[in-house]
Amino acid sequence: MAKIQLKNVSKVYGNNKVMDDMNLEIQDGSFTVLVGPSGCGKSTTLRLIAGLEEVTSGEIWIGNHLVNEVAPGKRGISMVFQNYALYPTMTVQGNIEFGLENMKIPKAERKKMVDEIVEIVDLTEYLDKKPQNLSGGQRQRVALARAMVKKPNVFIFDEPLSNLDAKLRGQMRTELIQLHKRLGTTFIYVTHDQVEAMSMGDEIVILNKGHIMQQAAPMEVYHNPANQFVAQFIGTPAMNVISIAMLEGKLGKIIDERIFYIGFRPEHVEIQTAEETTSGIHLPCELLTIETLGSETLYLVNSDAGQFQVKSFNNPLMNTEKIHVTIPFDKLYYFDTQGNRVYVDELPFESMGKEVRGEVLI
């Protein structure tokens, strides 16, 4: 079995440093998702682990082996590519068998292994077809079968679902989760889609510009983001982040000098139906747009503190122009000038109480 470690890994292309001194540990048997915007280095990380690229400096360990000098095929890794990378001149059977033939596995045994795998991925009747005669979902399964048949210690997925339509993607997502449960091997999965990351991974690594922003379980990343980037990357819609300058004078002075931004999630904002006072920031807002999504409703509102989004699970407020919202104090996140999280023990405001200052209730 294999735990994967990247120690002080850097990768430079020409003058372009895409990865700088990265340290990453992927636990054995985990379903780790690398997620981040394009160009964040997530695919590079994957290709370095697979051995398709060489590190500029640093060490990569798989299990107890330093694999810097080990050829891709000898690392015990199988990879599923974004565009499947099936061999177009071979049949489905040929594609799945190719790696086994290279390993000089006898024909009878090979046949047994292939039959077993195609049974699992439901491709038995397509064994003699060429990839170009298959649908996207079927090609995806062939790629999966080709990876599985080698019984690797680590599976690597490079945005494998991005070429499928939404419905099929959802279906494959659950199938991959089940597959992981069944095989128990390490899965490393790259995606730029935070929904995929949240729903599939038991560990999420959020990358930006070649640096790890946070590595934690999905709910931890959601509830306890380490910085403004993670806060705004995870969750739909993104967390609202407002500069304290916009709130200053209305809230009373913020005593903690480190704090520069305040963040809150759209789904935590409460829409006031009556003039009641709960503990939080009260803001009168103007409704700009409404997006009804069925189970929930998204509002874009404008207040003295600027524009932000509100997500509500109540019935949509049609024909309404002005609303009052409350942002509960215990749902506030604080960030410094660099966007790093500032952890506070008590509310960092100068004066507290249920009095009106300006138009804001505290």
């Binding site: 697979a50 095929g73 061999y87």
Partner: protein, 289 residues
């Protein structure tokens, strides 16, 4: 907008007329002539039925011409493609030197065949030629490249290969560059040896290019004329006489028009078969994405 039914036909009429007059009519005229005895000048064309064909097939010289043509075609195509394949694999990388070599091997393709013929007549001259001078430098005997019946056809094949490889290399390099990189990455993860990487991935992916080159190579070689006409005139001892030169010789030197036309019909049949194979095989055995 409604277009009159006859308008498209009107628009293609000029092209059709040119096609009929200059392509279709000569073919039928040739077939017509192949059944006649005619000396190009006399107003009488005597109908002789299949006599011309009978004479051709029992003429040992014609059989030798066919053999020469097939040998020339087979070896020219074989060596052109094999050498071009090796060159492409070597040249398919970045760097000014590779671009330079690629340009250099392509240059024969843009030179006219007549110039090429003149150039190689000098290179292969038995007494003053470049090749024999080089051989003498390394202490080897002179080779009578173009003047010995045993080496003349091989010499012509060398010239044809020299002219072909530039273009062939270009086509194969284009083929190599269109192979997606991720296939090689998948192969690397599948522990593929470099030999199997070539035989199982590169070569099958190149099959459209190689098939295309084989067909145009065969068609070009069967129709070889310029180099033979200028360098050897079919000699020595008919060792380099090929089908098209034979047709020319009979028609325009010996004025046996009927006989030449019959040979022309045989050439037409051979070329049609090759073309037919091209269209039949296309999309079946060859992989296209």
């Amino acid at each position: 907008m409604k277009v009159a039914k006859w308008r498209p036909y009107l628009l293609i009429t000029p092209a059709i007329i040119v096609f009929l007059v200059f392509f279709i009519q000569p073919i039928f005229y040739m077939i017509y002539l192949s059944f006649h005895d005619w000396n190009f000048i006399s107003p009488d064309k005597t109908f002789v039925g299949l006599e011309n064909f009978k004479a051709l097939l029992s003429d040992p010289m014609f059989l030798q011409v066919i053999r020469n043509t097939l040998m020339y075609t087979f070896f020219t195509v074989l060596f052109s493609i094999s050498i071009a394949l090796l060159m492409s694999i070597w040249l398919n990388r970045r760097g000014w030197m590779y671009s330079f070599v690629q340009g250099a091997v392509f240059s024969p393709h843009i030179i006219s065949l007549v110039s090429i013929a003149m150039l190689w007549m000098w290179i292969m001259d038995a007494d003053y030629g470049l090749l024999n001078w080089i051989l003498s430098l390394v202490g080897m005997d002179k080779v009578p490249w173009l003047t010995d019946p045993n080496t003349a056809l091989a010499s012509l094949i060398i010239i044809a290969v020299w002219k072909n490889i530039g273009y062939y290399t270009l086509i194969i390099i284009a083929g190599l560059q269109s192979i997606p990189k991720h296939l090689y990455e998948a192969a690397a993860l599948d522990q593929t040896s470099s030999f199997r990487r070539f035989t199982k991935i590169t070569f099958p992916m190149l099959s459209p290019s190689i098939f295309f080159l084989t067909i145009i190579g065969i068609l070009d070689s069967i129709k070889v004329f310029e180099t033979i006409s200028i360098i050897t005139k079919g000699g020595p001892l008919n060792s380099t006489n090929t089908l098209v030169y034979y047709i020319y010789e009979n028609g325009f030197i010996f004025f046996k028009i009927g006989y030449a036309s019959a040979a022309g019909v045989i050439l037409l049949v051979i070329l049609s078969i090759v073309t037919l194979i091209y269209f039949k095989v296309l999309g079946k055995r060859v992989h296209y994405q």
